[in-house]
Assembly symmetry: C2
Homo-oligomer: 104 residues x 2
């Protein structure tokens, strides 16, 4: 499967609103059949920095995610909250095996 780590830095005054909007998006994204995980984590040493850990079940799933209403809402909501452009890294998942990346 494909894992995408999205590195995000937000303006200090936007942290709370960013977390709220991103939790909503994560909750809706987990209902997409192509998405196994959509985790949000916050740096211990810098609460303005986050990583979204997205795991997709197939190659077409990221494009389908970007066509959803919840993605568009999130993208537009957080656009002005960014302190720097988002940077993504793409990975192949090696462990655990695909069936164990989500509980459904």
């Amino acid at each position: 499967m494909l894992a995408v780590h999205v590195n995000i830095q937000v303006k200090p005054e936007c942290v709370e609103r960013f977390v709220e909007a991103t939790k909503d998006n994560a909750k809706n994204s987990l209902n997409e059949p192509g998405i196994a995980r959509f985790d949000l984590v916050q740096r211990k040493d810098d609460p303005t920095r986050f990583v979204l850990v997205e795991v997709y079940r197939d190659a077409g799933a990221p494009a389908r995610h970007k066509e959803t209403a919840h993605y568009a809402l999130w993208r537009d909501t957080v656009e002005k909250m960014m302190a720097a452009p988002r940077a993504s890294e793409k990975f192949e998942t090696l462990y655990p095996e695909p069936a164990r990346w989500s509980c459904e």
Copy 2:
């Protein structure tokens, strides 16, 4: 919960042995009650680069993990495979809620 992302770069000739040793360690680590996740992912654009995504259920779990025989074996096995020192980032998990980070 605490998430730790360990960034790892290995020597090209060590990739296969590193993956084997790290899968063994991940499998054993998931049996520790304090560990919710122990994922291994490999960079799409550079197969010598990996991230271990470790999620701990409590503050004492990382120290208990480092006392296990499987951690010691992994640490000693991969020591000479590193192309650069390992670099860790620590995070607070924000989403999903703690009970949903593992399937047990």
